[in-house]
């Protein structure tokens, strides 16, 4: 809740989402600048900072991509302004060059980079462990165990950053970002310093001359971490086993130790400063035991770095287990309390009395239909994939489609008729298509289609489009312009005309940008299935680079703006079960609004779900689907 983020109530405890706590922590530290690119599970942080920007007297922007965001923060830091940069784990790979360079130049105003990892890739294409980037770039990293610590660590991160003159990373995971728990508020600064004058000889320059300084900063961070209140040991003085853990693992481990009655024999060493590790602190505790279980999210990062410490300390005689050692914890996927319980049971032999549960044999269990992800009712992407799929079939040239990252990534699944043959990363589709399209000189004659959403277009497709234009690749680039970064919660992007702070801005026209590059561009409405199918068909017949903008607003946004037209089925006209069209509307079109009336054996509209786009009415061969209340796009 926005009011909590800026509530001047030190000592008051509220239920806060992890992302709210992070935003609050940054405000308590007195940031004046925040920049981010949206990505689950991080997106709420900047969204909230944007909403409170005016009241909190800060600047917040949705940057065009993560590199823009990080380097914008570096700019603010140059003027000694405290800044917060936020991204998800894919983003921290995108910013690799900027991050490694910034670590050489160091910072002036405190700069905290919050990276939200997504173990099990709930809303990502991978579960990359961003701690590798912190280590590779020699950047100190903190890892909170709960929402309170997320707030406190972000706040303290600024002190550390300015003490070291180095940026500081805070790694969270989905369960912290999207989880909620009690957070006790601290004080908000009464006054915020103005930007400092940058003197003639002030420098923030990334060049290898500063490698020694970079190493020294890391060593200094390690010294500070040896006494950090974010690291602690809880347990007996001579434990049989120590669990070394960070992040979500702390609460799961505490609960497992409690449930299994192991409090007198198993200790927990909680590490909040995961890079560089406080070596002396760790050795001091590990020397008490012979068995160590490391509990952490995603990769055996902590585990391998502890193994590294053990290698240099002959006084440690330890059997190490975790995601790597003993295969005590699965090598990939998110932690949960049961994984930790099972690991501990396997290592100690202890069990506990679980509540009585019933397992129904499979043959007696009700068959449950799986709940696949699909596009929302009325989503223009459904229409886009429908018409692209049919156009490529009609063309009969075995068109190849290269996907990209956004809601429309689902187009590679059933929701989009399994349209993709290729999917890589943000901006990957157009680049791969450029390469494939240039194989035409060797006789490759299948149509090549690359897709990108409007937000992805600005994020990472511009260099690819210039490349494809300059080399006149034989391809069709389709921009699915739904006027939203829908997947992550409708953050505005440069094409929208609104900033993160809710201020109007002059939108950057995708069409004009594409035209300025010199591309032939066509704009079409994906809801006009027949007309746009013809348009796409004619485009893919032409040689060279073609650009098509499929423009139709995200249904979830559109329905908020207008009276919903009513769509219903005239069941007298519907051909129904017997000799009909195989339930084309619900079976092939697949909108959650098109359901089947099993009693009547006819089609039906779920009027609770339907947003009134009316496309199904144009597809029904019997004209049984009716629409009233004006056109969808008015």
């Amino acid at each position: 809740m926005e009011w909590m983020i800026i509530a001047n109530e030190p000592g008051k405890t509220y239920l806060m989402q992890g992302n709210e706590a992070i935003a609050r922590g940054a405000l308590e530290a007195g940031i004046r600048f925040a920049a981010a690119y949206p990505g689950s599970p991080s997106s709420e942080i900047l969204a909230m900072l944007g909403h409170v920007a005016e009241k909190a007297d800060i600047y917040a922007e949705w940057s065009t991509n993560e590199t823009c965001a990080l380097e914008a923060c570096l700019g603010a830091s140059f003027a000694k302004v405290r800044s917060l940069c936020i991204m998800k784990q894919n983003g921290v790979l995108t910013v690799g060059d900027a991050l490694h360079s910034a670590s050489l130049s160091g910072v002036r105003g405190g700069l905290v980079l919050v990276v939200a990892d997504d173990p099990s890739a709930h809303s990502s294409t991978n579960e990359f462990d961003s701690r590798h980037q912190a280590r590779a770039a020699a950047v100190p990293m903190l890892e909170p165990v709960n929402m309170q610590e997320a707030k406190d660590m972000v706040k303290w991160g600024y002190e550390l950053s300015e003490q070291l003159q180095q940026l500081v990373m805070v790694r969270t995971v989905t369960r912290i970002n999207h989880g909620r728990s009690s957070v006790t508020l601290g004080e908000l600064p009464q006054e915020k310093p103005s930007p400092a004058v940058i003197g003639e000889w002030d420098r923030m320059v990334a060049i290898n001359w500063f490698k020694d300084a970079q190493i020294a900063k890391l060593a200094q961070a390690q010294e500070i971490f040896e006494d950090s209140p974010f690291n602690w040991y809880k347990g007996p003085e001579d434990p049989d086993m120590i669990i070394v853990t960070c992040g979500t693992g702390w609460l799961y481990s505490s609960e497992a130790v409690e449930s299994l009655g192991l409090k007198d024999t198993v200790g927990i060493l909680k590490i909040g400063t995961t890079w560089p590790l406080p070596e002396k602190f760790i050795v001091k505790h590990l020397v008490k035991t012979k068995k160590v279980l490391v509990v952490e999210e995603v990769d055996p990062f902590l585990e391998q770095n502890i193994a590294n410490i053990i290698a240099y300390h002959p006084e440690l005689n330890i059997e190490l287990s975790g995601r790597q050692g003993q295969k005590a914890i699965p090598r990939n996927g998110e932690l949960n309390p049961d994984i930790v319980l099972n690991a501990l049971t396997n290592l100690t032999g202890k069990t506990f009395a679980r509540p009585e549960t019933v397992v129904i044999p499979q043959e007696e269990a009700v068959a449950l239909p799986p709940r696949e992800l699909t596009f929302c009712a009325g989503c223009p992407h459904r229409a886009s994939f429908f018409l692209l799929k049919q156009t490529l079939r009609i063309h009969e040239g075995q068109g190849v489609v290269m996907g990209d990252i956004g809601c429309y990534t689902m187009g590679g699944q059933r929701a989009g008729h399994f349209l993709y043959g290729f999917l890589c990363c943000m901006g990957g589709g157009i680049n791969a298509a450029e390469g494939l399209g240039n194989l035409s000189r060797f006789g490759f004659d299948q149509p090549v289609v690359a897709l990108a959403g409007d937000s992805t277009f600005f994020h990472s497709c511009l260099p690819g489009l210039v490349n494809a234009k300059y080399h006149d690749s034989n391809m069709l680039f389709v921009i699915l312009d739904n006027s939203a970064t829908a997947m992550t919660g409708f953050q505005p992007h440069p094409g929208i005309g609104l900033t993160a702070m809710g201020k109007a801005a002059e939108p950057v026209s995708i069409q004009k940008v594409v035209e300025a590059i010199g591309c032939q561009v066509t704009v079409a409405d994906p809801f006009d299935i027949d007309g746009t199918t013809n348009t796409v068909y004619n485009l893919i017949k032409q040689p060279g680079l073609k650009v098509l903008i499929l423009k139709q607003e995200c249904a979830t946004l559109a329905v908020r703006k207008r009276e919903k037209p009513r769509v219903w089925v005239d069941q007298d006209l519907c051909r129904g079960d017997d000799c009909g069209c195989g339930r084309f509307c619900s079976r092939v079109w697949g909108c959650p609004g098109n359901i089947w009336d099993y009693e009547a054996g006819k089609a039906k509209i779920d009027e609770v779900v339907c947003v009134g786009c009316g496309v199904c009415a144009t597809l029904c061969p019997a004209g049984a689907i009716k629409m009233e209340g004006g056109k969808a796009d008015e």
Binding site: S181, S182, N336, V358
Partner: protein, 205 residues
């Protein structure tokens, strides 16, 4: 200070399909609990989709300490669900013979059912299996009642009313209403207070 809990931690799962409003309902519930001085943690599982995917929230309530955001398998004390097949899916993993289940009966058809590859089971079959898995099952026509009251989208708050009426849940109508008043105003508040009461009465009957 907060009352004694019948069980500590008390584990509640609130589940349904994206777009049904269970994240908001859960947030309001947990806020009311924190206002009362309990430790409450919430874990939310939602995928890439704004709508259409399964969404499950875990609420863990304790008088003494903070728990991790996820409930271990088989340890849900109460399951509140907005969608029957999702109720069963969640109950198979998290219910035990003492679990109390409140579920809406209105189906939300998944893609496999819409395209005719899978069929949607009958409510009787779902309830029969739920009864085997849990201690008690109560079906509440939350969406239909919410439609009657004025807006299908208010089914989430209606089910929260039913939940609050359960003796093991350590908040009362006034606590939840206070949070509703904090978040809503005007017609939306009026509707939410109304459906909350309707939900509450479903249990009292």
């Amino acid at each position: 200070m907060s009352r004694e809990l019948v069980k500590d931690p008390l584990n509640i799962i609130i589940c349904g399909v994206g777009g049904q409003g269970n994240i908001l309902a859960t947030e309001l519930l947990a806020s009311a609990l924190v206002e009362k001085g309990y430790y409450a943690t919430v874990g939310e599982t939602y995928g890439a989709s704004q709508r259409g995917g399964s969404v499950m929230s875990h609420v863990r309530i304790s008088a003494s300490t903070e728990y991790g955001v996820l409930i271990p398998l088989g340890q849900a004390d109460i399951i509140v669900s907005f969608e029957p097949t999702d109720t069963l899916r969640v109950a198979r993993d998290y219910a035990n013979k003492s679990t109390l289940i409140l579920t809406d009966s209105r189906p939300n058809y998944p893609l496999g059912v819409l395209i005719g590859e899978a069929s949607y089971p009958s409510m009787d079959a779902i309830v029969a299996e739920l009864e085997k898995l849990s201690g008690q099952v109560q079906v509440i026509e939350a969406t239909n009642l919410a439609v009657e009251a004025g807006n299908s989208q208010a089914a989430n708050i209606l089910l929260m009313g039913a939940l609050t009426a359960l003796p093991s849940v350590p908040i009362d109508v006034a606590d939840y209403n206070k949070v509703l008043e904090q978040r809503f105003s005007g017609k939306a508040l009026e509707l939410n207070l109304k459906v909350f009461k309707i939900g509450y009465e479903q249990i009292k009957q």
